[in-house]
């Protein structure tokens, strides 16, 4: 008996401490928050699309003509693809890629290239898709980071507005929302020792390493602080056709270095199925384990199988993370991203990868602090309404069930503390409808007590003896309560599993509320009731 009472008291204190310690964010309607205006780079989305089609044409070309191509037969710029091939092949492209218009041919570097241009309506569609896709990706990302009750909506042609409640430090939010999280895999070109022919500027150094097939290849590097210098320098370089220069961290992590890669990436993050954080038990560093869907796994198997001995660069947001040598064909569709992250960084990366890449980079055009969307008066009235409502329930319970009613209200207070504390652990946000919801929860949480109390009354009429009646009332009432609560819980969990965004947040709150009511209104109330009964204080 004492133990149960002690549990009641201690748990109430623990819940209180958690709420006090974690705090509960107030929603956009009550307190305002951060406002971001994002611009989706639709032009880049269009370029990426062109690049993908170019990649498909290239692999088609390789199928038709074999692998031996040092000169690239397929090149592209923003909305144009240049193909140098026989008329048969060109006809095939015209047929296979109807989203491109054939524009005739022209000579570049003494070679005839056929020009294909992306159709206007296709461009519009890609632009539209980019914004809508970015919208759902950003929603998914915000969802990954708790139930924050955000407001995310499309604004005009290419903009997205994101409002997040009460964020003190917008940099994390910006990191999460703004990261493209575009994952690419490209083969490292060790055949052309391109950088050996380059004379670097001052402050840029040349290094050598052993590349594929034991060949010595050169690369350029700078100290960590000189990233911009290297980035600007490589812009001036003219990589060989079909090749592209990327920058990545050096192996020791303290320098930036160049990589010469194939310009067409064969596999990207769109084939990703999942991403999780794992610990490397040897180095004790976290890494991100990614798994591909079936299409991605097939592609990954193919690309690794065709390039054994070469290096495969793993690129995230246009920076090379690592470039391990492919030792054998990798099937099964899993890969790891290693790169000296802290555990927090790894978690962030995994979450962002799970939510999916943005179809195009986004830029932060505006960043502001916004005030609450509801007026002070409305907030005040809303809180008064909720408190009065809860108080009326308490008053009613007290006058109807007297001492037992008082005990029930203690149980309800514990229920609310429980719900709020768990919600605060989830990083939930309290909005005005949320507060009203809590008041309604008070009304519904007492239902558990009412079921039991009514049972006790029935048993009292039948048995006339208090203690057995109380016991019987609890026992019979419990069966009902479990069934009733479990059904609601099942409904809530289904909504949580299949719903998204705000509906999900609601289902979570409901589930926690039900568990809280089971604990507060059943276990705690019973403990207090029993202890009072022992002291012969009872009324119902």
């Amino acid at each position: 008996m004492r133990i149960r009472l002690a549990i009641v008291v201690i748990s109430a204190i623990v819940f209180g401490v958690i709420i006090w310690w974690k705090g509960i964010k107030l929603g956009l309607d009550l307190k305002g928050g951060s406002y971001f205006l994002l611009n989706v780079r639709q032009d880049i989305a269009v370029r990426k699309f062109t690049e993908r089609i170019a990649s498909e044409i290239l692999s088609e070309y390789k199928k038709t003509y074999g692998e031996q191509t040092t000169e690239s037969p397929v090149r592209f710029e923003d909305t144009k693809i240049y193909v140098s091939a026989s008329p048969d092949f060109i006809e095939k492209i015209k047929k296979d890629f109807p989203s491109f218009n054939y524009e005739g041919s022209a000579f570049f570097e003494d070679k005839e290239y056929h020009i294909f241009t992306l159709r206007e309506e296709e461009i519009k569609e890609i632009e539209e898709f980019a914004v809508n896709q970015a919208l759902s990706t950003i929603r998914a990302r915000v969802d990954e980071f708790g139930i924050a009750e955000p407001q995310i909506f499309r604004y005009g042609k290419s903009n997205i507005v994101v409002q997040l409640p009460g964020i003190q430090d917008p940099s994390q939010a910006k990191r999460i929302i703004g990261r493209t999280a575009l994952l690419e895999f490209r083969i490292v070109d060790d055949e052309n020792d391109f950088f050996a022919t380059i004379t670097p500027e001052e402050g840029i150094y040349k290094g050598t390493e052993i590349g594929a097939g034991g060949k010595t290849v050169s690369y350029l590097w700078v100290y960590e602080k000189d990233y911009e210098k290297l980035a600007n320098f490589i812009k001036k370089l003219n990589p060989p056709p079909g090749r592209i220069i990327f920058i990545g961290k050096g192996e020791k992590g303290n320098i930036w270095r160049t990589y010469l890669l194939e310009s067409i990436s064969e596999i990207t993050g769109e084939f990703l199925r999942n991403a999780v954080v794992r610990m490397n038990t040897i180095t004790n560093e976290p890494y991100v384990l990614i798994s591909f869907n079936s299409e991605g796994a097939k592609r990954f198997e193919k690309i690794t199988g065709e390039n054994v001995g070469k290096r495969l660069a793993i690129i995230l947001d246009e920076k090379v993370f690592s470039a391990p040598v492919i030792r054998e064909k990798i099937s099964g569709g899993v890969a790891t991203i290693e790169g000296r992250f802290t555990i927090e960084e790894a978690k962030e990366l995994a979450a962002v990868l799970r939510a999916g890449a943005l179809p195009a980079p986004v830029e932060f055009e505006e960043e502001r602090t916004v005030g609450p969307s509801l007026g002070e008066d409305s907030i005040k009235k809303g809180i008064i309404a909720s408190v009065t409502g809860a108080a009326l329930v308490a008053l009613f319970m007290l006058s109807y069930y007297r001492i037992s009613g008082f005990v029930a209200m203690i149980g309800v207070v514990i229920t609310i503390l429980f719900t709020l504390s768990i919600l605060s652990l989830f990083g939930a946000t309290l909005t005005l409808p949320g507060i009203a919801g809590l008041a309604l929860t008070v009304g519904m949480a007492v239902d558990n007590n009412i079921i039991i109390f009514e049972r006790i009354r029935e048993e009292l009429l039948r048995k006339q003896v208090i203690k057995p009646a109380v016991e019987a009332g609890h026992k019979l009432g419990m069966a009902t309560i479990i069934d009733a609560n479990l059904t609601t819980l099942i409904a809530a969990l289904f909504i949580f599993q299949f719903g998204t965004g705000p509906v999900r947040g609601f289902a979570l709150t409901l589930s926690i509320g039900i568990l809280g009511a089971m604990y507060g209104a059943v276990f705690c109330s019973k403990a207090i009731l029993d202890s009072l009964l022992q002291r012969r204080v009872f009324s119902i």
Binding site: Y35, R154, G389, F396, I451, R457, E471, P502, R536
Partner: protein, 397 residues
């Protein structure tokens, strides 16, 4: 019988302390009173408590609560010690009174069908007013160009409560529904000028930027949300089939659609906009309504188990009547906050309040008059069919 004995043994603790003679008698009498074979009492054997019970049982108003209504004021059997407060209590619905609820089921079906058809009409004819959460609209950044600073409250007075936020000194972000744009267009103005004109009363404003905005919930989210609700109703039904009876599952599933759609229909007629918070309120109602139905179903199941007889209207009526006081009290405890929110709350809160008020009434009504009636009627229909078959076979013989 053997089963019953086993049950008894499990429940009853062997007395550890020798009890005074009188008390044993009391217990015996109490045991005798268990008319329906419900053996659930756990008698306390501790000395300090037993004191309370030592007074002999007085002649009491008939305790056969099942058939005879009892006045709420009952003479306590036990003379309480001063600390112990008596078991006298007031109740809204007299314990033991039985109302023939199933009698009204034909009327209930008629009312429900009419309301349901009406709501479906409202919903599918696109008469549900959607808020900007669902529909989108326009969003404008406006700047106050007059003297000093302007209070955001004044702008709220012009456009009504809603999405008006301050974004810096004298700069505001307002979100307006599509209707506003359409109205402006009909008057031959663009939305920007319409906003400025409306604000003329309170001062000089400039629109900095005006763009159309998308909904908070895209088509994809809406689809997922609908799936979520349907899956959850299926989930509930499976649970009810496993724990209760498939006939109750049918009744419950129908009533969930019934409650949520009728609430949405009536609320739409009253002009309540469907927004994210009001949608959440409807989901919460589903939880409330299923609770109500389960509690009645549970009582029916309990009665059937004890009586070990086939379904009868009487058992259903008893179950509904016995749980009626719980139904009323819980209805009241949810009603209180609902009323205060409806009366004191503004905009969203009032909408939530109205939705809850309608849903509360519909949900309580359906769990009393519809759910178990439906389950019973399915049973009755099956029984009739069976009897007919039996008749046919006997006729053939």
């Amino acid at each position: 019988m053997a089963e019953k004995d086993k049950f008894k043994k499990k429940i009853f603790k062997e007395p550890k302390v020798e009890k005074p003679h009188e008390e044993k008698e009391v217990e015996k009498k109490i045991e005798e009173k268990r008319e329906d074979g419900k053996v659930t009492t756990q008698l306390d054997t501790k000395k300090q408590d037993t004191k309370v019970h030592t007074t002999p049982v007085q002649p009491q108003p008939k305790v056969q609560a099942k058939t005879q209504p009892i006045t709420p004021k009952i003479q306590p059997t036990v003379k309480p010690t001063p600390k112990l407060i008596t078991t006298k209590f007031f109740s809204f619905f007299p314990y033991g009174k039985i109302i023939n609820f199933l009698k009204f089921r034909k009327i209930a079906y008629a009312i429900s069908s009419a309301l349901f058809a009406f709501s479906l009409f409202i919903i599918f004819s696109g008469r549900v007013p959607l808020s900007t959460d669902f529909k989108g609209g326009v969003s404008a950044t406006i700047k106050y160009e007059g003297e000093g600073t302007i209070d955001i409250g004044k702008i709220r007075e012009v456009f009504g409560e809603g999405n008006i936020q301050s974004i810096g000194k004298n700069e505001f972000l307002i979100k307006l529904p599509l209707d506003f744009v359409e109205k402006a267009k009909a008057e031959g103005k663009d939305a920007g000028t319409a906003i400025i004109e409306k604000l003329e009363k309170i001062g000089k404003f400039k629109t900095e930027k005006i763009e159309s905005v998308g909904s908070l919930i895209g088509a994809e989210l809406r689809k997922k949300g609908i799936y979520a609700v349907i899956f959850s109703i299926i989930g509930i039904s499976i649970y009810i089939v496993l724990r209760f009876e498939w006939r109750f599952a049918v009744g419950a599933a129908i009533s969930l659609f019934h409650d949520s759609l009728i609430t949405l229909g009536i609320a739409s007629v009253l002009g309540v906009e469907l927004s994210l918070p009001t949608l959440a309120a409807i989901l919460a109602l589903i939880g409330y309504s299923i609770n109500d139905s389960i509690i009645i179903a549970d009582r029916i199941r309990e009665k059937l188990k004890i009586a070990r007889i086939a379904w009868t209207e009487d058992i259903f009526n008893r179950a509904i009547s016995e749980t009626l006081s719980r139904t009323i009290i819980t209805f009241l405890t949810v009603l209180f906050p609902t009323l205060t929110i409806t009366i004191f709350g503004t905009t969203t809160l009032r909408d939530i309040g109205i939705i809850f008020l309608i849903g509360l009434i519909i949900g309580t009504y359906s769990s009393i008059f519809v759910v178990s009636s439906l389950a019973y009627d399915i049973y009755a229909l099956q029984k009739k069919k069976k009897e007919k078959e039996v008749q046919k076979t006997t006729q053939k013989v």
